[in-house]
């Protein structure tokens, strides 16, 4: 579904991503792990079009998408979340979700004056979907709260909720569990699995929570210093000496 070829991103003297190549297959939940500063978030930024790579190619569903703008990729079904929550602070939680869906006639300003009925009908659909999402995330009580007032973990949930507001094909999740309490992490885990099974999403998941990775992800890609250190089944990865040294540490095996 997504193939990355010799992807390189250089910031000044630092090669945050260095000749990185891997593939994400359709229907998988592919884990992306590695030490802090390994280049995981940068890789997401490159795939999602937030950064233009120094060199290398990215293919999505057989099409070269290197350097394509983020909003275009969204409409092709490539959606991402941010490691640091990017909420719309002075908008309500409900609005934060309602802004996401594509094909909203009311986004063309004149339709609001000329075709209020059409706008209204779609608006009802969008609202219903947003409310379902809030329900799913169990944050319905925060519906009319300004998103800027949410706690860190609640913002992470909202971040995740935004990806549920569109019919995505590939979802890039950057540490969805970071700062979220353990019971909720389990819920997020189930939710990701359900979205894959029920809606056919493909995921690429960055996480430092190894329980989440091992229970969800197959395969797992280990990044270190901007390149793929190893790729494969989580059990093999846990046994691998290089990965243990670079990331997992002695106790993890």
């Amino acid at each position: 579904m997504l193939t990355v070829e010799d992807l390189t991103m250089q910031f000044g003297g630092v090669k945050a991503v260095n000749k990185c190549s891997f593939t994400i297959n359709e229907g998988t939940i592919t884990g992306l792990i590695g030490p802090n500063g390994a280049g995981k978030t940068t890789t997401f930024n490159l795939i999602a079009g937030a950064l233009k790579p120094t060199s290398g190619k990215i293919y999505f569903q057989g099409q070269d998408i290197t350097g394509k703008a983020t909003h275009q990729l969204f409409h092709q079904g490539l959606v991402r979340t941010f490691q640091i929550p990017h909420e719309f602070a002075r908008m309500t939680v409900l609005e934060n979700l309602m802004v996401v869906p594509p094909n909203q006639p009311g986004e063309a300003i004149w339709n609001n004056w000329l075709m209020p009925k059409k706008v209204f009908d779609r608006e009802e659909e969008v609202k219903a979907r947003a409310e379902d999402t809030l329900d799913f995330l169990q944050i319905t009580h925060l519906r009319d709260e300004y998103a800027g007032n949410l706690s860190g973990g609640q913002k992470k949930l909202l971040e995740l909720g935004r990806t549920m507001m569109t019919d995505a094909k590939l979802v890039l999740l950057d540490e969805p569990g970071a700062g979220v309490n353990p019971t909720l992490i389990l819920k997020i885990r189930d939710m990701i699995a359900r979205l894959r099974d029920e809606r056919g999403y493909t995921f690429c998941l960055i996480e430092h929570d190894m329980d989440m990775i091992s229970s969800l992800c197959d395969p797992v890609i280990v990044l270190a210093e901007g390149t793929v250190l190893m790729e494969g089944d989580i059990h093999d990865i846990r046994q691998n000496k290089a990965v243990i040294d670079a990331y997992l540490g002695g106790g993890a095996a």
Partner: protein
């Protein structure tokens, strides 16, 4: 009774110009309040509207370009389209750059526009300006002509308010706010930031031109002073900030309030100057009345500080609609 009638006429003119400022402020609210675009050249768009309307509606004359004698509505529409086109060109260049560039560019453009109107004497009659601009209902007897004009201004304020309010509450307004709040996230939600920003910038500039057209018909005269930044840019910003940026009601209230204060300070200061005893006056600088104009600006600045202490987000802070 005569004195009362004089006050009455003064009050009408105060409210009329206040209304024209309300249109301007509503335009700025779309740009800054909704879209977060810093337009520091409001005066330029205002002047484009004023001059276009004046040139398009006046009788033939050899003092300046003109003689088209277009109907008011057509002239106003052309004025708006001209302003929108210029905004579009500026937007094409600046909206993709960092946001401060837009501020710098709009200051520059407004200054260029001012200089063009001042120096292209063949078209604009230079600093002497365009006179005998027709005014709707000017045939009616006093005060009905002024009241009728006020009614038009009132209707335009209402119409712009309603359209803008609808837009703000709509999915369009939601996207605009989202972009203002968080660019990367809006991008990741599939929104084409440049397109939306452009729309806000162009629409706001068109509304500013409409205000300019109204001003030129109201005064029946227009000269490059309309593009002075103090009264046409700075004051409008103060109006929006005091009223509450992002809130259409606030924009209107702020416009009237600050316009009354601004006119009031003029009245108060000139009264003071007139009543200074002559022997004291000899100790004061000779160009006192000129200097007092700056005291006004100082006072408005001070007032802004006081307001912002008390109402940090304006009298009517922005409110996002709560969907039921």
């Amino acid at each position: 009774m005569d004195l009362f009638y004089g006050y009455f006429l003064y009050a009408i003119s105060l409210v009329t110009i206040g209304g024209i400022y309300a249109i301007l402020t509503l335009g700025l609210n779309i740009q800054w309040g909704f879209a977060g675009l810093f337009n520091a050249g409001i005066a330029g768009f205002f002047a484009i509207g004023a001059y276009s309307a004046a040139i398009l509606t006046t009788m033939p004359t050899d003092r300046h370009l003109g003689g088209y004698e277009m109907p008011y509505i057509v002239a106003a529409l052309v004025a708006m389209v001209a302003s929108g086109l210029i905004a579009w060109v500026i937007g094409k260049i600046c909206l993709r750059l960092r946001s401060d560039y837009l501020a710098i560019a709009t200051i520059g453009i407004a200054e260029i526009i001012r200089l063009v109107f001042k120096n292209e004497v063949w078209a604009t009659n230079g600093h002497r300006g365009i006179s005998e601009v027709p005014k709707p209902f000017e045939g009616l007897p006093q005060p009905w002509n002024d009241l009728a004009f006020l009614a038009i201004v009132g209707l335009i304020v209402l119409a712009v308010y309603l359209l803008s309010e609808r837009a703000h509450k709509s999915p369009w307004g939601r996207v605009m706010t989202a972009i203002r709040e968080n660019e990367p996230a809006s991008h990741a939600a599939g929104k084409n930031i440049e397109t939306f920003r452009m729309q806000g910038f162009v629409i706001g500039s068109m509304i500013m031109a409409l205000a300019g057209a109204m001003m030129s018909h109201y005064l029946k005269f227009i000269n490059p002073a309309v593009s002075e930044p103090i009264a046409s840019t700075f004051l409008v910003w103060v109006m929006l900030i005091v009223g509450g940026s992002g809130n259409n009601k606030g924009a209107i209230i702020g416009a009237f309030l600050m316009w009354f204060i601004w006119s009031g300070t003029e009245l108060v200061l000139s009264t003071i100057v007139q009543n200074i005893p002559p022997d004291l006056l000899s100790y004061l600088p000779a160009d006192l009345s000129v200097r007092l104009a700056y005291v006004r600006i100082f006072m408005i600045g001070l007032l802004l500080q006081i307001f912002l202490q008390k109402y940090p987000s304006g009298i009517f802070p922005e409110k996002r609609p709560i969907a039921r």
